[in-house]
């Protein structure tokens, strides 16, 4: 029996890795390498980071890992599926708000209204659509299912009508704009511009306690690893190959008897679910969810990290998202203005001149020294583009 061997975890670049039946030895070696990579990642996240980093830095890392979860989804939808989604903030926000609403209600205690509603004093009782979120059995699944449902609704409408490319990007961005305006406008029930802030507890644990913050970090790290496993399976499955085929030749796939709309829809919905989960975990890690965290600008920033790391790879988006978020914190603390220039420049340079992201540099370096078969990867993905980068 032969199996398709996927990419070694670190170096997946560009197109779907070569399939077919490589020798069993090579296959086992690759699998071993993937497992080893996973183990290393787990060790880093669960042992090294908590030992080396201060509580403050660890909670920052927790925040970055949430952004990395969004990036995993963007990598699938955009890198693999070609859908440039500039509205992931919407799904991140839906997950975040669902979680925050539950935590606010839990903080307030049974039957009481969250503090900000009492403050604004516009409401006599809890709005109807808040009520189900009092139950964790509703709120927790909702953090993931709600974004997926919205993505399913929008996706099935637009993909079926073959709205794609730039049109889809603009539409997804408009969705983010509409969501933010809606949240800000409904101040009495959503907290408006402030968002939902000052979250105290997380299922009975006090979030001010560093020990509990650490626990939240571990939950986040575990979820990220879980999402990576899921993403790897998707990318290496037949579906993953089909998704790339749809990206590069949607009409051709249609003539093979597939409905490309469904293929894209799955990737889009999965990416939305990942963003929702990330948003939900972001809330206990940071203690706040607000429109400023989910609007047009943060939504497009999710894409930056992915582009920097390598859009079509598995780990690239994760590392890129963490690196960009880290750089932002490090630089904007000291030189706020400079960071904005740098961020813009980074975007211009990476997207224009290194579209495979940093992962393509890694792959290039590996390929120089490695026995990797020639022609197995290209730095850039579109067939019409023969010019490669770097």
């Amino acid at each position: 029996m032969t199996a398709v061997v996927g990419p070694p975890t670190v170096t997946t670049v560009g197109p779907v890795p070569a399939g077919g039946p490589p020798p069993g030895r090579r296959r086992r070696a690759l699998r071993l390498r993937a497992a080893a990579g996973f183990a290393c990642g787990a060790a880093l996240l669960f042992a090294v980071a908590p030992l080396v980093l201060s509580d403050f830095r660890l909670s920052l890392l927790a925040k970055y890992l949430c952004l990395a979860m969004v990036a995993v989804g963007v990598g699938i939808a955009w890198g693999r599926g070609g859908m440039l989604t500039l509205g992931q903030g919407v799904f991140f926000g839906l997950g975040g708000y669902a979680m925050a609403m539950h935590l606010k209600l839990a903080d307030a205690g049974p039957g009481a209204m969250p503090d900000f509603m009492q403050l604004y004093g516009q409401l006599d009782e809890l709005p109807v659509w808040w009520r189900p979120f009092a139950s964790p059995w509703f709120a927790l699944p909702a953090t993931v299912l709600l974004p997926m449902a919205v993505a399913f609704g929008l996706g099935s409408l637009v993909f079926r009508r073959r709205v794609r490319g730039a049109y889809f990007a603009i539409l997804s961005q408009a969705l983010a704009a509409a969501m933010v305006i809606l949240l800000v406008g409904q101040q009495g029930t959503t907290g408006g511009t402030n968002g939902l802030t000052d979250i105290q507890g997380f299922f009975g644990y006090d979030l001010d306690d560093p020990v509990n913050q650490r626990m939240v970090y571990f939950v986040i790290a575990a979820c990220l690893l879980g999402l990576l496993v899921l993403a790897r399976q998707l990318i290496q499955s037949r579906y993953g190959e089909l998704l790339v085929a749809v990206r590069d030749g949607e009409e051709r796939v249609r003539f093979l008897g597939y409905d490309p709309a469904s293929v894209k829809l799955v990737a889009y919905v999965v990416a939305a679910g990942m963003a929702g989960l990330a948003g939900a975990l972001f809330v206990p890690a940071v203690g706040i969810i607000s429109p400023a965290l989910i609007g047009i600008v943060p939504s497009i920033e999710f894409v930056i990290g992915v582009a920097v790391g390598g859009r079509a790879t598995l780990l690239g988006p994760v590392l890129g998202a963490v690196a960009v978020a880290w750089a932002r914190t490090a630089l904007s603390e000291r030189f706020p203005g400079t960071w904005t220039y740098l961020q813009g420049l980074l975007f211009v340079l990476v997207v224009a001149f290194l579209p495979g992201g940093l992962a393509s540099l890694v792959a290039l370096a590996r390929r120089r020294g490695d026995d990797g078969p020639p022609g197995r990867f290209t730095l850039w993905r579109k067939r019409s583009r023969t010019e490669t980068v770097a």
Binding site: R238, Y239, L256, T378, R383
Partner: protein, 257 residues
């Protein structure tokens, strides 16, 4: 597997913004035929194939076996066993030969199968690899294949797709003589249990491999029959062979164009 079905087109019309590209075409392609569609540029050949495969809207009737094709979505028509290629090759260049064929074979797969990895080479893919002579290239990226090999891969994709009707748009354009011969032999082989329709300008290729020929001109059927019958038709000589550009432009030297 049932035997091949025939294609029956009745009064097919396609217009774009007032311009009628296909103007009341009726034709029958019997099961197992290798039918060549020829005609000057703009005769409506590709548009006819577009209409049959659901890419453009058309009126009239197109029946394949017992199914009416008009009005169905592209992917539904494909699932009824109608496959086509395009003038420019459209293989997935960043996937391997094997991945290309496996995707083509998979339109009827369940989601449960799709989200798992492929293990080994599916039987129908292995068979197609043999037929199209690319068994030695399974792991090569389709984008790195030679031009002729890409065209064969396209045909192979139609085979694993289990297309019973193959609509090929200029399959030998840009091929060398040897590649043309190999393609012709391939068509003869696959037509044993399939119906094949070929759009082609290459007269030499046509004479060697066409079983029947339909000549289109200005959106209408001008002539139909065997190669000899069509060549003897004075109307064909007038509108088609009478225009040396159309024939000589693509036909190899030595044809009587």
């Amino acid at each position: 597997m049932s035997g091949p079905d025939g294609l029956a087109i009745r009064d097919l019309r396609v217009s774009f913004d007032g311009f009628t590209a296909v103007d009341g075409v009726s034709l029958d392609v019997p099961p197992g035929d290798i039918r060549f569609l020829i005609g000057p540029n703009g005769a409506g050949k590709t548009t006819l194939v577009d209409a049959v495969t659901g890419l453009v809207r058309a009126t009239g009737s197109v029946r394949f076996g017992e199914h009416e094709l008009l009005g169905r979505a592209v992917h539904r028509i494909s699932r009824l066993g109608v496959g086509r290629t395009f003038q420019t090759s459209t293989v997935f260049e960043e996937l391997t030969v094997l991945q290309n064929l496996d995707i083509a074979a998979g339109a009827r797969r369940s989601w449960a199968t799709l989200v798992r990895r492929r293990h080994g080479v599916p039987d129908e893919v292995a068979a197609a690899l043999d037929t199209i002579g690319l068994a030695g290239h399974v792991d090569q990226l389709a984008g790195t294949l030679a031009h002729g090999q890409k065209q064969w891969l396209e045909i192979g994709m139609l085979l694993v797709q289990d297309a019973r009707l193959l609509l090929l748009d200029e399959p030998v354009a840009g091929m060398s003589h040897e590649e043309r011969d190999a393609t012709g032999t391939l068509l003869e082989k696959v037509s044993r249990d399939r119906t094949v329709v070929v759009i082609e300008h290459d007269m030499d290729f046509l004479r060697r491999f066409a079983r029947t020929v339909t000549v289109l001109h200005a959106g209408k059927v001008l002539s139909e029959g065997t190669v000899a019958q069509v060549q003897a038709d004075p109307r064909v000589q007038e509108v088609y062979l009478g225009h040396p550009v159309d024939a000589a432009g693509t036909a190899p030297a030595g044809t009587e164009a």
